[in-house]
């Protein structure tokens, strides 16, 4: 049986769970969200990524019902949510500041939403235990929020928002205060929960790796606008702008001059350097200034000149950053550019042959680099 890929955004018959239609949000004369349109589908794990102050929390707050829209409308399951108060929305939010009730124990914090639904005592108890177990807080059930650590508080906030198993869950930096191990575990937990319950997640994160791991789609925001909304792979492999390329992951940016040539562009970037070639279906117009973005791990470093490579430049090693499983070489070209190249360390350090000041050749394939408009 063929596994159908989960790509509702490519299916014109799918009705989105959430629709932002030309939403603008102003605080006084400051525009926090600027004419933004976005569809989020049921069962998605949607990540919002962007620099501080770009409006991520504001979008969440509009979905949860704490902020109205200044212009435009937001639809949840096809209905305009403007008139629905927060307590009547099938949406739960995990606050960036956690917003735990200081007068209630961890247990009561998690049970708070369940009690409002007037569930039987037994059901509440079971659900709270389940949540405590999930977030590994069993031992702290009877402590007050001020008696636990920052990371534990964050988990209480997460457990509290998960407890009601809402249709839409908004997580505002849910894992920021956790250590790497616990964060990864929790990420998988979240994906697991999502698979089991079919909840739609919208998650804000500063951690791109996290966005890449958990998200079905990622939206990169800047100053209240969406720059690119795509799958993590697409965002990483073919960013649509210098901003996105630079924001996600490590990247070499080469500024140059593009000229149409065959199935792509020829790029001249410095005197005395060879012409580079990049395949692309994108149309930059006939010629002009452009940026070339190349991920360090797509650049091959070699001591001897490799044969038959389209993109080949020569330089000297300026610096080597040893990251355990990877090494990053900072290579300076004769024209002054510094290009980073990353290789996997399959051999022990002592036996590696490249070192500082060595002359090396850098090469990459025609499809490795992305041509971006200025």
């Amino acid at each position: 049986m063929a596994q159908t890929v989960f790509e509702p955004w490519n299916d014109p018959d799918q009705e989105p769970l959430i629709q932002f239609r030309n939403v603008t949000k102003r605080f006084g004369d400051f525009t926090a969200i600027d004419n933004l349109s976005l569809d989020i589908f049921e069962r998605e794990f949607f990540a919002l990524l962007g620099p501080s102050g770009c409006g991520k929390t504001t979008m969440m707050r509009m979905l949860a019902g704490f902020e109205g829209v200044s212009e435009g409308a937001i639809y949840l399951s096809g209905k305009d949510i403007a008139p629905v108060p927060p307590n009547k929305r099938a949406v739960n939010m995990m606050f960036q500041s956690y917003a735990l009730f200081p007068h209630l124990s961890v247990w009561d914090n998690i049970a708070f939403g369940l009690k409002r639904d007037r569930l039987p005592k037994k059901a509440i108890g079971d659900r709270v235990s389940e949540m405590l177990q999930l977030t590994r807080l069993e031992k702290f059930a009877h402590r007050k929020p001020h008696q636990i650590s920052g990371g534990q508080r964050q988990r209480v906030a997460l457990a509290r928002s998960l407890a009601k198993a809402p249709k839409l869950l908004l997580l505002d930096e849910p894992l920021g205060a956790l250590d790497k191990k616990l964060r990864q575990d929790t990420q998988f937990e979240l994906m697991d929960i999502q698979e089991k319950t079919g909840t739609t997640f919208v998650i804000v994160t500063h951690d791109q790796e996290e966005a890449m791991t958990v998200a079905s789609r990622v939206a990169v925001m800047d100053e209240g606008r969406l720059i690119q909304v795509d799958t993590p792979a697409q965002i990483y492999e073919s960013p649509n702008s210098l901003y996105v390329a630079d924001f996600i992951g490590d990247v070499n940016i080469i500024e140059g001059h593009a000229k149409k040539s065959g199935d792509g562009y020829d790029i001249t970037f410095a005197e005395g350097q060879p012409v580079l070639h990049a395949k692309t279906s994108r149309d930059l117009g006939s010629a002009g200034k452009c940026y070339l973005a190349i991920r360090p791990e797509k650049v091959t470093v070699s001591a001897e000149k490799p044969e038959g490579r389209t993109n080949l430049v020569k330089g000297t090693i300026l610096d080597i950053a040893y990251l355990g499983n990877l090494s990053t070489y900072h290579v300076k070209l004769a024209s002054g550019q510094i290009i980073k190249a990353q290789t996997a360390n399959t051999r022990r350090i002592a036996r590696r042959d490249l070192t500082w000041e060595d002359e090396v050749w850098l090469s990459w394939t025609e499809t490795a680099a992305v041509v971006l408009e200025v």
Binding site: N92, F95, S97, A99, F101, H103, R160, K164
Partner: protein, 296 residues
Amino acid sequence: MRRLVLIAVPYLWLLTLFLIPFLIVLKISLSDTALSIPPYTPTLDLGAGWTGVKEFFAGLDFENFWFLTTDELYWKAYLSSLQIAFLSTIMTLIVGYPIAYGMAQAPDEWRPTLMLLVILPFWTSFLIRVYAWMGILSREGLLNQFLLWTGVIDAPVKILNTDTAVYIGIVYTYLPFMVLPIYATLEKLDESLLEAAEDLGCSRASAFWLVTVPLSKSGIIAGCFLVFIPALGEFVIPSLLGGSQTLMIGKVLWEEFFNNRDWPIASAVAVVLLLILIVPIILFQRNEQKQREAEG
């Protein structure tokens, strides 16, 4: 050493301003009335040496405390004071909480002004303000005129010199003591807690009862004690606004002291009043301490 000095300062303070006066009053309460100056015996005669001290202690007894139990006036006055203080504390809370809540909800730039308005009455003498209330509450006073004008009543009613006037006076006088501590806790309240409550399915009203009220509990308790404790021994308000039937221990104390010139009995009344007050004062301290701990 530094620690010791730091601890010693408040204790010295307590000793000179509380313990020594208290011991003097306690001593008088154990003495007998006399037609002399001061109006009690025995007095300590250190010139007589050791025998003088022995005589002095031999002259002390609990007669006056015994006397308090024999005359029902006293325990009735205590009970009635407790009742008046308790009820007026509740009333002050009912009036004060909405005021504090309103202040905390007001825009930031308004808050200093509102705060000023709450403490403004302290800028005039307490006595003058109570006299002003006599003018308002009297048969020809503003309140009666207003009620007549609105048609609620057709003949002036007696308000001044009743218990009602005492309650009005106490609520009015001690309102700032209720409003300020409650306001202090409400002002600190994190808005996002209410949002979280609503997000989890609370209506505005239930978020108020489940979040706002519990989180302002320490302010409520502090305010209630700050009203209850002085109201219990209140003397000016019942004597000026209350009637002859208004029984409050503060008034009894005053009469024993100045009308009867019976210092020992008056002192005994004061000592018992203090013993009664110790319970709420300790509870109040506990509350303050618990709050400090909760704030870490």
